[in-house]
């Protein structure tokens, strides 16, 4: 039987889909496994990957976006074999230990013990708040829709916890990641440029302007350079109801850009 490329892709999607969906739901792993996995993790993995799973640059175990370990079996195989040529050594774990470790990793390394409980509402309703009354697309972007002046939220559910998303909605300055802080630079000729910080080192900084233009600045060439700790985003604490906020959180948490 021959398939067109699109048919083949669809078949592949459906073949993989159940596993993907299952892994998207931490509830499939028992609390006991996750707890046992935490002990395996802290004894073997945390040394490099850190307690929050981001100790190895470029790898974030919490997000589940592990290109070499799309499935639980692949994750277990990777842990068993290690990754030759990298710092990832092979680990010999019992099947119980491995089941726990996989559960712990897939559950986002357990819950953040400091995170307050967050109510998660209805994602489709949250979407209509996001695109309607919230006017969120005036600054943010999801996929191909919206503005580029605020952080792109296409995968926000994969990179931030529900608690952090909720905090950003009600206390944008308190929840703002430092890298996203608004910056203002004055060049020697007096021209001013403002934008959102994307990347910075000791000597240079890379920003995106409200118009979506990418600009790289050399700090010593600037007359003035300020980073504001205050987020330009309005708080929705008083303008949206608790239910609206719960729906918004549900929608944002669902945005994962294909991440597991």
């Amino acid at each position: 039987m021959k398939f067109t490329p699109i048919e083949a892709a669809l078949l592949l999607l459906f073949a993989v889909h159940p596993a993907v969906v299952a892994q998207d739901h931490p509830g499939q792993y028992t609390a006991g496994d996750i707890d046992a996995g935490s002990r395996v993790y802290y004894a073997n993995c945390a040394q490099c990957h850190g307690a929050t799973g981001i100790g190895v640059g470029g790898i974030d175990l919490r997000r589940g976006r592990l290109p070499r370990a799309a499935t639980d079996d692949a994750l277990a195989a990777l842990v068993t074999s290690g990754i030759p040529g990298t710092g990832m050594p092979p680990f010999r774990l019992t099947s119980d230990e491995m089941r726990g470790l996989v559960a712990f990793v897939r559950a986002g390394l357990g819950a953040d013990p400091n995170a307050p409980p967050v109510k998660i509402g209805n994602a489709p309703r949250g979407r209509s708040v996001f695109e309607g009354r919230g006017r969120c697309l005036e600054c943010h972007r999801i996929g191909l829709e919206g503005s580029r002046s605020g952080p792109d939220l296409t995968d926000i559910g994969a990179v931030r916890t529900p608690a952090a998303i909720h905090r950003s909605l009600v206390d944008p300055t308190g929840g703002m990641r430092p890298i996203n802080r608004p910056v203002r630079a004055v060049r020697r000729d007096g021209s001013t440029i403002t934008g959102r910080r994307l990347n910075e080192d000791s000597y240079t900084v890379q920003i995106v302007t409200a118009e979506g233009r990418l600009v790289s600045l050399v700090k010593e060439e600037l007359r003035d350079w300020t980073v504001s700790p205050t987020s330009p985003m309005p708080s929705y604490k008083d303008t949206l109801s608790a239910d609206d906020l719960a729906d918004l959180v549900a929608y944002l948490v669902s945005l994962r850009d294909g991440a597991l």
Binding site: R39, Y42, A43, N44, A46, Q47, C48, G50, A51, T52, I54, G55, V56, G57, G58, G85, T86, G87, P89, P90, D112, P113, N114, A115, R160, T161, A163, A164, R167, G174, G175, M176, R177, P178, I179, R181, R197, L198, N199, E200, D201, S202, Y203
Partner: protein, 553 residues
Amino acid sequence: MRAVTALGCLLACTIALAGQPSGDRLRNAAAEPHNWLTYSGTYAGHRYSTLGQIDPGNVKNLEMKWMLQNQVFGPWESSPLVVDGIMYLTQRPNDVLAIDAKTGRIFWVYKHPVAPDFKVCCGANNRGLAMLGDTLFMGTLDARLVAIDARTGRLLWNLKVAEYAHGYSVSLAPLVVKDKVIIGVGGGEYGIRGFIAAYEPATGKEIWRFNTVPAPGEPGSETWSGDAWKSGGGSIWVTGSYDPALNLTYWGTGNPGPDFNPAQRPGDNLYTNSVVALDPDTGALKWHFQFTPADRYDWDATQVPVLVDTTWRGAPAKLLMLANRNGFFYVLDRVSGKFLLGKPFVKQNWASGLDEHGRPIQTPQPPGATTWPGQQGGTNWYSPSYSPRTGLFYVSAWENMGGVYRSQESVYKPGGNFMGGGYRTTPAVPDAPVPPNIRRPTMNNWTDAAGHGAVIAIDPATGDRKWTFRMYDLTDSGILTTASDLLFTGGRDGYFQALDARTGELLWKSSFGSVQMLSGPITYEVEGRQYVATIGGNVLAAYALRDEDTRRR
């Protein structure tokens, strides 16, 4: 040109007379600054050179003369040796390269066949070589010591140091003292019992061994309880120093095991997190000083002990200086081990101070609260530098970076991780990214708000900062100073920088890309030209002045 030729001839004559490095040459390494004969350049651990062709006036004209693109990926922590125009260094996992120090071209490569199931906590790291006569010495990830013919790259001997399957490894550059090759073992995260040992250069026969964790009945065993000493840690993973006049060799020791749970090893846990002064002929312990007793933070005292002869409170003194991972800078009398000064050089809240003997008055933070410094410490294994000209001690520091530690019971299994808990770096705002410990990605999405790197110049007389060169990202780079009062260092921003060693002013920089620079820079001279070499990412690069700048001199 004539002057250059004459100097070249002079060097050639020296080479012909001197042959390969002998014990005498190693002892007098400072007298031949065109070479870099030991891990830190000289036995004193200064990473300081009397070369001065590159100076604050012309450093802006430095250009890259050659680079070596490593095809072995992963953090590259090696610090090269240079002996009479030939550079020797290691690359992952346990390869040795002989390189023309003038062109970067390779003479030979030796590949030690590492057992694939070696156990190291933090990557397949090796920090370099030692050389005596025509022989190079390298420790291996599978806990062996190998001797290699420096002219052919052929193996001379290969001996087992310890059981790698039980978590032992050798990652440091050996130190040759007189007629002995001295090494120590890594494995502080695997419940090893650490030791320093000396071997016969010709045969590899073990001559002595000093256990960094005493057995019951031995001095220091009163600081342990039960069987905890058997998995007590005390790893050795950075090269020590040596004072020929006192005939003492000084080594910093690693954390106790398990790392984060002192409840499993009640007591001070000697000689972990200490500096030990040993007789290099016998391995006998002359004195010890412990920086962090009963450690719960993984604060190895693995920093290079820096030996300085100067005046102290008006009288000539033989000092040992060490900026410790625990965030304090220390000055000790290296004859007796007596504590002279200790002062925090970064933010810390784990001790309310040091008592008159230098013992910390510990103030453990409540569960869930942040401790400063964090698990990687105020500094770590990165080579510091001391300039006898400025009298300043220079250290790569991690400032304002804290972490939350947690303890839990760990069961010791030979070769298994033995951590006793864990830690997490405290983010600038909840859930924000924090700097990665191991490998820096290409973009900085954590910012300096979570802590930043710096070069700090410390006045040893007071422990106070003379100046601070603040970086945006962290730094794992070593520091080199020279007789022209230049300071060279890298950083995670991926720049190789030259600072004025007196003021900290930036004089020159070169971009390596956004990579970790994990090497201690070195300097050497070939045919009248001074080079500065360092490693960033997978690149080893050597810089020197332009031809016209060299000729003018």
